[in-house]
């Protein structure tokens, strides 16, 4: 019984799990998204190496989810004192609340990064055929990112307002 309490009653574990999920899933999503865009970029650059810089811009777009995830993880770590003031002891309820608050970023970050990667890859087609219109491809990719931004916002507001 004591052991179970030790394992499941520790809020810090849940909070760190939340940070881990946010950074891991957003990171995996971004890695996949950037890879999808990168594969398409390589095709464009093979034809015309001078477009390298522009492909890089398009490829960087799905990278932001990973950064947002890191950001949420960092905020959780500051919140529970893992960075800075020393680890606080949390109740299981508070820890779980922080874990739940990290979920929007983890889930939406993962999925939206992949879709944004696909949109960026499609934007590479614009770059290949009509380079002056490449910024339109960037806007399409940014339309997808909107939802990652909203998830970031909600995760952030939740974590910020959970009393510790």
């Amino acid at each position: 019984m004591e052991i179970l309490k030790e394992i499941f009653g520790n809020g810090t574990t849940y909070a760190i799990l939340g940070a881990a999920l946010a950074v891991a899933f957003s990171g995996i999503g971004s890695a996949r998204g950037v890879a999808i865009a990168g594969e398409a970029a390589a095709g464009v650059v093979a034809e015309d190496p001078s477009k390298f810089g522009q492909t890089l811009l398009l490829q960087a777009l799905p990278a932001t989810q990973g950064i947002y995830g890191t950001l949420i993880a960092f905020i959780i770590m500051t919140k529970i004192g893992l960075i800075g003031s020393g680890l606080k002891s949390l109740s299981a309820g508070t820890g779980l609340a922080i874990l739940c608050a990290s979920l929007p970023m983890a889930i939406v970050g993962y999925v939206s990064a992949i879709y944004q990667g696909k949109t960026s890859a499609a934007g590479m087609g614009i770059l290949a055929k009509n380079p002056s219109e490449v910024a339109k491809g960037m806007i399409y990719a940014a339309m997808v990112e909107t939802y990652a931004v909203l998830a970031l916002l909600i995760s952030f507001l939740c974590i910020q307002n959970i009393p510790v």
Binding site: A60, T70, A135, I139, T146, V149, L150, L152, L153
Partner: protein
């Protein structure tokens, strides 16, 4: 501040003066000439005019152009490096005519250059062929018999290669075993191959060859020369040396031509311009004596056209554009607003006769960008970079707009950075603690990390103003188009609904009555195009659903806070990481490295994000409310050039 007023222009001139008149128009560069060929099909014109036949000289011109171009490409790497962004030499009409009249002597030069290059190329191929040949002979160098020697009266000498995996001793033993009278000697061995000679009686040639074939023997045939292989190599080496010397001479010869580079470049540009003039000419129509050119000219340039015409027997007619769909669009804004045209042009130009949104959109874009970056340090970097490029290189066109935007948005980034109290994130407290042990804070008016709700409400409030302004422009356009009731029904009633909601938030219940009044207005009017009372009413009620659209538009502005937060938090993560080394030499070095690399990365990512998302807020939330897109850009007929700049007069 607006879309430039255009006039339709019809220009009648004498065929005999066509070339010079078109040339002068091209130098002025203020008239767009449209293709006239559709006139040939229209009933009104058919029989009256004939197409201006494409000039046969076009092909000859293209040949000359490619000759001159290749000469330029040869000379350019030989010439001393020109400064990047150096101003192009200015050329006038007189210069243009002069260079064309001197083309014969310049063409002699370019032909001579191309001839020399041809010689250079053949020497180079000769050398590379010789090198390949020498490397194929190299392994046989030690074989000191004449190359033509293939045997004596009774014996035959064959040379060839055999893979290294074959043991030569074993081979010889096998030969003995089979009683074949042949002598094998190894001349040379590489990592993969033995180079061998085989001496045998002519009578047993087939036997020897069959035997060797089993060991992957490859016969080598030499040229029939009377000297040895090493002498052959020597003679080829000599040839290469001689060619190299000749190549050096050729280079010197070419270098002497470099002084002509400027004139050749000018000639090339003159050809290009002439090519352009001829192609425009072929899209016009003419009668026996007279030609007709039609197109568009900005109203302010009509006087200029008149003054050009004065010198010729020509007649020009201006009319107001009747077909707005077809009228080209030229934007005219002051220096502050011009950079923002880049954002609009990316979406689409406004239609002729509608509103140029740039001056209204610019302050919003500027502010949104600043809110998303929101850092004094980043703003200073952008401002510094933008000003440096603008003042040093004075870029024009797209680059000029881009760096103008960077400079201006740098300022808004600094201003919002001051509000948030952010300088490279929280670098000031962290640096001061790292070096002095005491944490110094800069004052922040609102800290978005500690008080995000206030900032979010401010962002959404800003978004509300943005949307209201967008709707207001649509109302203005509707009134201008003579549809004041549409403006009242479609926009006025929504304004009333919004005003009621705001009143409700401030003073409470009475606000709801105002909203309700607006909503009733919407229900009554939004179905006005539908037939039947039921259709009118149902689409009227459904139109209230539009409130969700406005709600999602407003929430979209929360990205202003979110992106600002993300760039601020990443910056503080970087600072914290940099400070991990503590107060030591190592710690300080670590801090500097992490600080520079990390903040550059965050700045680049932030600028990309802020640009893309500010644009999106304009395109989707703002332009969606009123923008009439699809304008055709104004493409004046002008002297196109690459190396020189054509201008009408000498004054610079």
């Amino acid at each position: 501040m607006s879309i430039v007023k255009m006039k339709k222009i019809s220009l009648y001139g004498l065929n005999s003066e066509k070339d010079v008149l078109l040339r002068d128009l091209a130098f002025a560069g203020c008239v767009e000439i449209r293709d006239q060929s559709e006139k040939l099909q229209s009933e009104e014109w058919v029989g009256l005019v004939s197409p201006d036949t494409a000039d046969l000289s076009l092909n000859r011109l293209e040949d000359k152009m490619s000759g001159v171009k290749s000469a330029i490409d040869v000379l350019t790497p030989l010439a001393s490096k020109r400064k990047a962004f150096a101003p192009k030499p200015k050329k006038t009409v007189k210069d243009f005519e002069r260079v064309l009249s001197e083309e014969a002597s310049l063409l002699v030069i370019s032909d001579a250059i191309n001839e020399i290059v041809k010689r250079q190329d053949s020497l180079l191929t000769e050398n590379s062929k010789a090198e390949v040949y020498i490397s194929s002979l190299k392994p046989w160098e030690k074989l000191d018999i004449p190359m033509s020697l293939t045997g004596t009266k009774f014996t035959s000498l064959t040379i060839g290669t055999i893979p290294v995996r074959v043991e030569i001793d074993e081979l010889k033993a096998k030969l003995n075993e089979r009683d074949i009278e042949a002598h094998i000697s190894v001349i040379n061995s590489s990592k993969t191959t033995h180079y061998i000679t085989v001496l045998y009686y002519k009578s047993c040639e087939d036997e020897v060859m069959d035997f060797l074939k089993d060991y992957s023997f490859n016969k080598v045939n030499l040229k029939r020369e009377n000297h040895t292989i090493s002498e052959e190599i020597k003679s080829y080496n000599k040839k290469i040396e001689k060619n190299i010397k000749e190549l050096a001479d050729i280079k010197k010869e070419l270098t002497e031509f470099v002084e002509n580079l400027g004139e050749l470049e000018f000639l090339y540009d003159a050809y290009r311009a002439k090519h352009n003039i001829i192609s425009i000419k072929s899209s016009l129509v003419k009668t026996n004596e007279v030609f007709l050119a039609e197109g568009y000219v900005p109203e302010k340039n009509t006087e200029k056209v008149d003054s050009i015409i004065e010198g010729y027997t020509a007649y020009v007619e201006y009319a107001d554009p009747d077909d707005y769909e077809d009228t080209p669009v030229l934007l005219k804004n002051n220096g502050i607003i011009t950079p923002y045209e880049m954002v609009t042009e990316l979406y689409s130009l406004p239609k002729y006769g509608s509103i140029d949104p740039n001056s209204i959109m610019a302050p919003f874009f500027w502010l949104f960008f600043g809110i998303m970056m929101a850092d004094i340090g980043y703003g200073l970097v952008m401002l510094g970079l933008g000003l440096f490029v603008l003042l040093k290189f004075k870029p024009t066109g797209f680059a000029g707009k881009l760096f103008g935007l960077v400079t201006q948005c740098g300022i808004s980034t600094i201003l919002i950075g001051i509000v948030y109290g952010s300088f490279f994130g929280d670098s000031i407290p962290i640096i001061s603690e790292l070096f002095t042990g005491k944490s110094v804070n800069i004052k922040s008016f609102i800290d978005p990390i500690k008080d995000p709700i206030t900032v979010m409400l401010a962002c959404i409030g800003l978004g509300f103003i943005h949307i209201i302004v967008g709707m207001g422009i649509e109302a203005y356009q509707l009134i201008k188009d003579g549809k004041p009731f549409d403006a009242l029904f479609d926009i006025g009633f929504w304004y009333i609904v919004f005003a009621g909601i705001i009143a409700f938030l401030i003073i409470g219940k009475p606000g709801l009555y105002i909203s309700a009044a607006g909503a009733i207005g919407l229900v009554l009017t939004q179905g006005r195009s539908k037939k039947g009372i039921f259709g009118k009413l149902s689409s009227g009620i459904l139109s209230l659903y539009g409130i969700t659209g406005y709600l999602s538009d407003l929430l979209s502005y929360s990205r202003l806070l979110a992106l600002g937060l993300s760039s601020a938090v990443i910056a503080s993560v970087l600072n914290t990481m940099g400070a991990l080394g503590g107060r030591s030499i190592f710690g300080i070095v670590l801090f500097i490295v992490v600080f520079i690399a990390g903040h550059l990365f965050n700045l680049a990512l932030g600028v990309l994000g802020a640009y893309v998302h500010s644009s999106r807020l304009q395109y989707v939330e703002f332009f969606g409310k009123f923008y009439r897109s699809g304008g055709i850009p104004f493409k004046p007929f002008k002297m196109k050039s690459k190396y020189v700049e054509f201008c009408e007069t000498d004054n610079k």
